[in-house]
Each structure stands twice: as C-alpha cells, then as structure tokens.
C-alpha cells in the first residue's frame, strides 16, 4: 500500500516485501484492513455457531476441571452482561463434570473503568458475589470477548476490593487479540484474529435470542472489549 512508504521509508526502500520487517507489519495490517473496513459492502460474517459455542464451553469446563485438578473451591464470576450468561453455562457444565454445585456470580467493573471520564456516567450493572465470598477461593473470571485487556484490568481491581482469592484465572469465549495491557486468558473458547477496526459481537440466547459470534467490518459500532 502507498501509506507504507511514508510510514517506514528507509526499510521499505531496501526490501520491497516488508513482510520480514516486524516494525512495519502492524502499520501495514491496519492500512490494509482500513481499506476493507471502510468499504460499506463488507457483510458481517459468523465465526461461531450455536453448536461451536456449546462445544467450546464444554471443552473449557473440562479444561478448568483438569488444570485445577478438580479443585472444590472454584468460583465463576461473570462480567456483565454476557460474561454472566457464559459463567452460568460454564458453571452448569462444570457442575455436571464434578457432580457438585458450582458457585456462580457477577462482578460489575463500571466503577473501575479507566475510561469513565470519556463518556457520560453509565448505569451500574449487578454485582453478586456468591455467599461465602471469594477469600481463598480459586476465582475464574468469565467474559465474552478479550480485546484490549482493560476490562480485565478493571475486573482485577474490583475483585481486589471484594476479597483475596487464592488465585484468579480468566476464561474467555473469544480472544480477538490487540492487547493493550499484559493480560492473557487461561481458557479460550476460540482465537479469532481481527483488525482493530472490526467489531466482534457475541450473541447469546439470553439477550439476543440466538447463539452466535459475528465479526463485522463497521468501524464505529460499539465494541465488546
């Protein structure tokens, strides 16, 4: 693309295929994708179906059981809104596997966001910590999409004020990349490489009447992060 030469002129002049050059790779990717994103015809594409989501959740439940060695102090905390639905489903699967009830709750992160002052004050979402609290438990945070990592940073701060878990893990249905903080997921439903300009939307029966993950190219729709 034309922009590339201006972005990294010296290197591009030397080697025509800038693919070997990591420093210009990100720039190239964005300019390429912006061309795609700005074209209004780009239709939304479904990347996970209802059965894909169900299988991913079942596998994640098995992974949690395996990697925690069947620990009996696992608590699932979903981040509203869709993270809570996923946590409930994950809790159901895990309960089937382990043959006991799994405490599932929700953790609102609104008051801990780092972008509060960029938008008008938002309504708070429910926080419900299971009876018994999170002290010395193994807390698995559950959210729909992992993007910048800022939501999870806020969730860790929020959790810190609620109690002191023995350990915290992160389960995510879709990891779309583009992290802005040193945060990673322990349990991932599906890795979906995306451009910054794309929108990943997780749709769940509870809120959207359908189970699906859809990627669309519209740059200005609201991003689940």
């Amino acid at each position: 693309m034309v922009e590339l030469t201006s972005a990294a002129p010296a290197i591009v002049r030397d080697c025509k295929t800038s693919f070997n050059d990591p420093s210009s790779e990100a720039g190239k990717e964005v300019s390429l994708m912006s061309a795609v994103g700005s074209s209004p015809e780009m239709p939304p594409r479904a990347v996970m179906s209802a059965s894909d989501i169900a299988r991913a959740i079942t596998r994640m439940a098995h992974e949690i059981d395996e990697r925690t060695h069947g620990a009996d102090d696992v608590i699932l905390l979903g981040i509203p809104t869709r993270g809570v639905d996923l946590a409930l489903r994950l809790g159901e699967r895990l309960a089937e596997i382990q043959g006991r009830a799994i405490p599932v709750g929700s953790l609102d992160i609104t008051m801990y966001r780092d972008d509060l002052r960029r938008r008008p004050a938002r309504a708070l979402l429910p926080t419900e910590i299971p009876a018994g609290g999170v002290d010395d438990a193994l807390v698995v945070l559950v959210d729909d999409v992992l993007f910048s990592g800022r939501t999870i940073r806020a969730a860790l701060d929020a959790l810190n004020d609620v109690g002191r878990p023995r350990a915290v893990a992160l389960a995510i249905l879709v990891d779309r990349g583009h992290r802005e903080l040193p945060i990673r997921a322990d349990y991932v439903g599906k890795n979906i490489p995306t451009s910054q300009l794309e929108t990943v939307r997780v749709q769940l029966l509870e809120h959207d009447g359908v189970d699906a993950v859809v990627v669309s190219g519209s740059p200005q729709s609201d991003e689940a992060s």
Binding site: D108, M111, Y112, L116, R117, R118, R119, P120, A121, R122, A123, L124, L125, P126, T127, D157, D161, V162, G163
Partner: protein, 316 residues
C-alpha cells in the same frame, strides 16, 4: 442526569429510577470489607454548609469519601462568612481551588440555583437543603427506603399511598418528596393544620387533609415532619400539647396503620412532639435505615454527576 441537582422536580422518571438503581448497587459496598471505590479519584467535592446539619453533611462526606473524592468541609461558622463574605465571593474562592462539585446547604431558598446559574463556578451544584424550598437528596433516600420496603426494591412506586404529616409550610423535605413521589407514581396526602400549609398547596400534585386519623388506615408509609421552631416567628398552633394530640404519631394512631406500613422521619426528631418516643423506636420505624440509605443515594448522585465525562455547554 443534568449537571446539577437543584430540585426534585428536575428529575424525570428515568433520572429518578437511574439514581435509585445506582444507589441499590452502591448499597452493597457498605457490606464489603473495603468500603471504597476508586471512581472519583482526583475529584474535589466541597461541602458548603451555611446552616447546621448533622446527618446530611456527614452523609455527603461519607458518600464522597467512599467514592475516593477529596472532600473539603466548609461551615459558615468559623469561616469568613461570619466576617460578612458574600455567597459570590465564597463561590469564587471555591472555584479558584478547583471544586468539581459543591454541595450546598443555605438558609435562603434559591441559593443553590443562584450558585449553579451565576457562572461563578464551573462545577456541579447539589442542593443539600435551601431554606424552605427543596432537599432533593432527602426525597431520593426516602423514595429509596420506601422502594426497599414496599415495592420489592425495584421499579417505581406506582399506587403506593404516602402520608406526610406536620410542618409542611417550612419543610423542604415535604416539597421535594411531593414532587419526587408523584414522579414515581405514588399518591401523596399532606396532613397539617391549616396554618402550616403553604399558599398554593392546592396546585401541588397531592391531596390535603387536616385530619390525621382519616388517611392512616390506608397508608403504606407515614412520614412525620419536624416542627421547625427555629423558622417560626409567630404562633402557628395554640400549644405544643395541642399540636401533639392532633398531629403527633402516637401509639394509638400507629395501631390504625396497615400491618406492612412503615414510619419515617427525616430527622432530627422532636420526640414527644410530632412522634412518640416508643413509635420512633418501634419495629415499623425505618428512621435509622433512612440515614444508611442516605449515603448510598448520595453516592449515586455524586457518581452520576461527576463520574462520567464533564458536561459541556449549558449549565442546567
């Protein structure tokens, strides 16, 4: 919500429900080991109190501190106000110090409105009681308390029957409550001697009665108002004893209430005057709960006014 909270009449149904729902989430904080949120870090809230107050000032201070705001307490006593400084000069001083919100209580009705619309300060203004005009956060905490007890803690207060008794003439609590409760769909009845009802009360969205015994059997909540002796410069009733007998909530009257009804009082109480001491301490009384709810509601108001992006453009 808009940039200021000056009157309960400014709140639409959606605004009021947003405050109540937010307060409900924030009420959980009180049960946590760490009763603090980082939301208003670096913001300054000034409590500007030109009139005595225990509950409201402490409540606003606790609310701001739980949201991690810096709090500056200012009371007229011991300040330059006693040397004759005007509201304007005080406001300009606060503005120079960078106050993001000013919580004001003032003996003059309309002082918060003046402060908000004069251009003296940029921050949000919260009315914490002005003269005999309004006290919107008290109305919000009263509505919150009623919703918890009588409406399952959610939605509006449609169909709820609330009786407000006593010195309506001098009561900013009554004014704010009538406005907010009617917004929320409750039916309000004011009960007072004719001398303690303001001119124009017939235009308020409520009904009026001179007889306390009539509305009690159908009331879901009874709110007793303090007889504000400090604002009474003439005789409004023959004697305290006569007032108490006709308009005080005593044991006998409480027994005519439905079983689920609650007794409220904005405080401070004149025990034995408008409310019997045993009634104030009874199981129906939610007076202490009102104080606790006050912190949650004020946290919600401060969060909604200060938590998001600063509003640009018009003041109110």
């Amino acid at each position: 919500m808009r940039g200021h909270l000056l009157s309960a009449a400014d709140l639409t149904l959606d605004d009021a429900l947003l405050v109540l729902d937010t307060a409900q989430e924030l009420a959980q904080i009180a049960d946590r080991p760490i009763k603090k949120l980082p939301t208003l870090r670096g913001r300054t809230v000034v409590n500007l109190f030109f009139e005595d107050s225990t509950r409201t000032r402490i409540s606003f201070e606790a609310a701001a501190k739980r949201l991690s705001a810096d709090v500056i307490n200012f009371s007229a006593k011991g300040s330059s106000v006693s040397k004759g400084e005007s509201l304007k000069d005080t406001a300009l001083t606060l503005e120079a110090m960078g106050a993001d919100a000013v919580v004001i209580r003032h003996p003059a009705s309309g002082a918060p409105h003046r402060l908000a619309n004069s251009g003296w300060i940029q921050g949000s203004v919260v009315n914490a009681g002005d003269g005999t005009h309004e006290h919107p956060t008290q109305a919000l905490l009263d509505a919150f308390t009623m919703r918890e007890h009588l409406a399952g803690g959610r939605g509006d207060l449609a169909g709820l029957r609330v009786t407000i008794v006593g010195d309506v003439l001098h009561s900013r609590v009554a004014r704010s409550n009538v406005r907010l409760l009617s917004t929320l769909g409750a039916e309000v009845t004011l009960v007072a001697p004719p001398t303690l009802l303001p001119v124009g009360v017939e235009t308020w969205p409520c009904s009026v009665s001179y007889d306390l015994d009539a509305p009690l059997p159908t009331s879901d909540a009874v709110m007793m108002l303090r007889v504000q002796a400090e604002r009474m410069h003439s005789a409004f009733f023959p004697s305290a004893r006569e007032y108490s007998r006709r308009y005080g909530l005593d044991d006998r009257r409480v027994h005519t209430l439905p079983d689920h009804a609650i007794v409220m009082h904005p405080g401070p109480m004149n025990r034995g005057m408008e409310i019997g001491s045993d009634v104030a301490d009874s199981e129906r009384s939610v007076i202490v709960e009102q104080v606790a709810n006050g912190v949650s509601v004020r946290m919600a108001v401060l969060y909604l006014l200060l938590g998001g992006a600063p509003l640009t453009g018009e003041g109110e």
